[in-house]
Amino acid sequence: AQSVTQLDSHVSVSEGTPVLLRCNYSSSYSPSLFWYVQHPNKGLQLLLKYTSAATLVKGINGFEAEFKKSETSFHLTKPSAHMSDAAEYFCVVSDRRGGATNKLIFGTGTLLAVQP
């Protein structure tokens, strides 16, 4: 079975400093991995996805993530945090079931706070 573990439930950074949100995955297959962001009382927005092409994936709003198979990690980073980055972030793996329905397996989320 596939799963994701988000190692931090809360992360707090100062505006202008780097962001690191950690995610480890477990998969029997070559996984498809996603990062979604959710602002308060809003839906989920896709930040970026990894689908077995380049291991360094660039997303929207300056975010990027690196797929490291040896470490089974897919950490999300941003060089400089902005106040508008404050939100909940979900690391997600796509559950491949060989012909059956593809489902998303969500991590428990990391709440990012950005201090002025």
């Binding site: 996603f34 979604y36 009382n41 839906g43 989920l44 796509s94 329905t101 593809n102 489902k103 969500f106």
Partner: protein, 115 residues
């Protein structure tokens, strides 16, 4: 812009009074999903439609039903809402249900309050 739309954004209903939430999409995607998200939790899949083929999750209560009259619209019906059904309900779409590389596109959600 192509998008997923949910109406209403906020819904208040009474305990036991049926309620319907609406989702529409302009992406022309084959698959539509309904998720329930409680406070500070990840979304939980309730069911999905692949075209007109309905697929229920094993642990979705019978109280939750869904309809998809056409490609663009999908409805979530809660027959007898309980206090525990208060949550954010998210609709999502994807092009195909068998391709793991296809992301899901989410609507803004409907916040349901049960009084």
């Amino acid at each position: 812009d192509a998008m997923v739309i949910q109406n209403p954004r906020y819904q208040v209903t009474q305990f036991g009074k049926p309620v319907t939430l609406s989702c529409s999409q302009t992406l022309n995607h084959n698959v539509m999903y309904w998720y329930q998200q409680k406070s500070s939790q990840a979304p939980k899949l309730l069911f999905h439609y692949y075209d007109k083929d309905f697929n229920n999750e094993a642990d979705t209560p019978d109280n939750f039903q869904s309809r998809r009259p056409n490609t663009s619209f999908c409805f979530l019906d809660i027959r007898s809402p309980g206090l525990g059904d208060a949550a954010m309900y998210l609709c999502a779409t994807s092009r195909d249900r068998r391709q793991p590389t296809y992301e899901q596109y989410f609507g803004p959600g409907t916040r349901l309050t049960v009084t």
